[in-house]
């Protein structure tokens, strides 16, 4: 039960697992412990074979593949908005990949290191079309479903205070509970990251009766994070994400990677794939770490298209998450 896992997480903090060498721990264990959602279409869900899949899961797989050479060597830990941080702080997981917003206090005060942004998001609202509401500012007196322990809970309070309007918060632990409460009309609107709204809406039987308001009330840069204090591990997590993004920029895909391994004219690609230089060794990994990461599920663009893109039920467009040279803000530092 949730309250027990919180307690246990706090207890493990006591017993002391914050050892310095996460990489060694992962190798010794032979599995990466990756914190993911309790379930959110597109981001973390169980596929037809009962295996976890999704945008957030794909990152876990790429990282496991880069470190252990096998994308299946992941132990998934499902976490709510509330118990994700104690789980990471206590060492129950090695990395958290769960729609988590990079904020000052999480980075500085909670003692975590964000390794980058995998999805630029913002907080939105979903409501029934019959309400006739066009903007969140018209929600005076409404009941609003909100996940506790999230940034969205704080943004919501700020937004209504600043606009001097009232609301009844209906606090909820997981996205699934929020979905149920919203469909039962316990609340008029549900608010969370816009990507999460699209994901939730995609599961409604009567999706066309609902609409996501055009309004976005916050910045929610989502990305993976690790415990502060193990820079070597943070580097591995960071550059695995960067490799996925750079691969899209350089045009390296799961389809053409084997051909590119025979050598290309672009030294940047060669360095990334380990046919030139020694980036892998610098990270303390094998030469072909990035190749393995890419073979797990393709580059960033492939992963996005497979789980979130316009051809999926979520139907999200790249928007801000397009590459910098393609109208977006996705910009990974060079592999040099």
């Amino acid at each position: 039960m949730k309250r027990f896992s919180l307690l246990i997480a706090a207890m493990t903090l006591i017993s002391g697992v914050a050892s310095a060498g996460t990489l060694d721990d992962v190798k010794k264990r032979g599995a990466l412990q990756c914190g993911i959602n309790t379930g959110l279409a597109g981001f973390a869900y169980t596929d037809d074979n009962g295996k976890w899949a999704g945008f957030d899961v794909a990152y876990c797989r790429a990282l496991a593949s880069a470190v252990l050479g096998n994308p299946d060597k992941v132990k998934y830990v499902n976490l709510t908005g509330k118990n994700r941080f104690p789980a990471l702080a206590s060492g129950e997981i090695d990395v958290l990949s769960r729609n988590t917003t990079w904020t000052f206090s999480r980075d500085v005060k909670l003692g975590f290191t964000f390794v980058g942004v995998s999805y630029y998001d913002g907080q939105g609202f979903i409501g029934r079309k019959k309400l006739g509401v066009k903007s969140a500012k018209e929600l005076d007196g409404a009941s609003i479903c909100i996940q506790t322990g999230t940034t969205t809970e704080l943004n919501l309070a700020d937004f209504f205070r600043v606009n001097k309007i009232k609301y009844e918060p209906v606090p909820i632990e997981t996205n699934e509970e929020a979905r149920k409460a919203y469909l039962a009309e316990r609340c008029d609107v549900y608010t969370t990251d816009a990507s999460g709204l699209a994901a939730t809406k995609s599961t409604f039987a009567d999706a066309d009766k609902h609409m996501v308001f055009p309004e976005i009330i916050s910045k929610e840069p989502l990305g993976p994070l690790v415990r502060q204090g193990d820079d070597a591990w943070a580097d591995i997590a960071r550059w695995t994400l960067n490799a996925l993004i750079n691969a899209e920029e350089y045009g390296v895909t799961s389809g053409n990677i084997d051909k590119m391994l025979k050598g290309t004219k672009n030294p940047e690609i060669n360095r990334m794939l380990g046919t030139e230089g020694s980036l892998g060794e610098m990270l303390g990994l094998q030469k072909d770490w990035a190749v393995k990461a890419l073979k797990a599920g393709g580059n960033y663009g492939e992963i996005f298209d497979r789980y979130l893109g316009e051809k999926t039920p979520l139907g999200l467009s790249r928007g801000l998450n397009a590459l910098w040279n393609n109208g977006g803000v996705l910009y990974a530092p060079p592999m040099r």
């Binding site: 039960m1 949730k2 309250r3 919180l6 307690l7 997480a9 706090a10 903090l13 006591i14 017993s15 002391g16 914050a18 908005g81 509330k82 118990n83 941080f85 104690p86 702080a89 206090s105 005060k109 909670l110 003692g111 309400l131 929600l139 005076d140 007196g141 409404a142 009941s143 506790t148 322990g149 809970e153 704080l154 919501l156 309070a157 700020d158 209504f160 205070r161 609301y167 009844e168 918060p169 209906v170 606090p171 909820i172 632990e173 509970e177 409460a181 039962a184 009309e185 316990r186 008029d188 415990r227 502060q228 204090g229």
Partner: protein, 388 residues
């Protein structure tokens, strides 16, 4: 005659050995505590985390839907915790009162000679005792949230409304003269008490009884009502009105509170009914036969002879049911009732002070439990003194 314990014979002396072993255990516990404390501090430092309770003064920045005291998102974490604590106390007290009521009624009825009634009660007890409480809480929440939507609210005389967001009823605003009504109630309460004592004495001396319930009813209900109306009804009712999304005004009982309350009360009520039944059965049948042959009526026998004796058997296990109910109320988190654990969890998450929040949880539940058992022990002593 006891031998003197000296250092030489300490191990061979039974009592001395006992002391020594206890000291050893105490020593080990102390070492254990010291180790985990220093280990924790070292780990916190390594993780760059600060500890201490200073964060309770920081602003919370989140909202809470049910609050018994003033609270806004600008209030402190500490105040948020108090809001949660009060919500825990609220649902626990409501639960304890209702569970006791249900338990006593069901316990007595189960012994009834009426086949249908006793069977009905038996099935209630068996079903509620054997289904996990968490499921029952979710069950009631699901029922309550499938009530009619706000637009189709069930209206009670156009002033109260029931819908899937709970029960909304008018809330009273007391005007100044209302203080006289309160005054009248207090005076009547004292009068009733005096009457009770007087009639008890008189009954002992002369055997004559006095219709206390009737007199009490008159004093406690009629008199304040008379005062209330003669002052021109000094209450303003804040009647809920329909707005675009919800109702505004009056007070609201959320489905979360209702579901938790009903589930806790019926679940614990089933256990209490068994305790009550056992208590009643523990009083030998000779007692009621004797009372009946003395000419007491059936309900008098129950009230005056059986229940007072049964209470002595009932109170101790009843206490542990009350403690269980209070602790079980933390299952609130499953349906988003904002109790101490739920709000504490949010604070833990937003501030990162896991150990402190867990410490506060343990301290509060321990204190609540100790307070409940202290009260029940006092009550237990009081009624067992009557023993002859």
């Amino acid at each position: 005659m006891t031998n003197r314990i000296t250092l030489g014979n300490i191990w061979f002396d039974k009592r001395g050995r006992g002391y020594l072993l206890q000291l050893l255990v105490l020593f080990c516990v102390a070492i254990f505590l010291a180790v985990i404390t220093s280990n924790t501090i070292a780990n916190l430092q390594r993780a760059g985390l600060t500890s201490g309770f200073g964060f309770l003064g920081d602003q919370a920045f989140f909202d809470i839907n049910q609050r018994l005291i003033d609270y806004t998102s600008q209030s402190s974490f500490g105040r948020a915790l108090i809001v949660g604590l009060l919500n825990t106390v609220l649902v626990s007290s409501l639960g304890i009162l209702t569970a006791t009521l249900i338990g006593f009624i069901a316990g007595v009825l189960r012994l009834s000679n009426n086949w249908l009634i006793s069977r009905l009660i038996t099935s209630y007890v068996e079903v509620t005792r054997n289904v996990p409480l968490l499921l029952q809480i979710i069950f009631w929440w699901a029922i309550l949230t499938s009530l009619p939507k706000v637009r189709e609210s069930i209206s009670i005389f156009g002033v109260s409304f029931i819908n899937n967001r709970g029960l909304r009823a008018p809330s009273p605003n007391f005007e100044d003269p209302f203080i006289w009504v309160c005054f009248a109630i207090v005076v009547c309460l004292l009068l009733t008490l005096a009457l009770y004592v007087w009639s008890g004495r008189r009954q002992k001396l002369t055997g004559e009884t006095f219709p206390i319930p009737l007199a009490g009813l008159f004093l406690l209900v009629i008199t304040p009502l008379v005062v209330f109306y003669s002052l021109g009804q000094p209450i303003n009712w804040d009647i809920p009105t329909r707005t675009r999304f919800n109702f505004r005004g009056g007070f609201n009982i959320t489905p979360e509170l209702l579901a938790l309350w009903i589930a806790l009360a019926t679940y614990t009520g089933a256990f209490i009914s068994e305790i009550v039944r056992a208590g009643i059965l523990s009083v030998s049948t000779g007692q009621s036969e004797a009372a009946l042959s003395l000419g007491l009526r059936k309900n008098q026998t129950m009230r005056l002879i059986i229940i007072p004796q049964a209470l002595r058997v009932i109170i101790p296990p009843l206490t542990s049911q009350y403690l269980n109910l209070t602790k079980n109320s933390s299952l609130a988190i499953a349906i988003g009732y904002q109790d101490l654990v739920s709000i504490g969890g949010t604070i833990l998450n937003q501030s990162g002070h896991a150990l402190e929040v867990v410490g506060i949880w343990m301290f509060v539940y321990l204190s609540l439990s100790l307070a409940t058992s202290a009260f029940m022990n006092w009550y237990n002593k009081r009624i067992s003194l009557v023993e002859r």
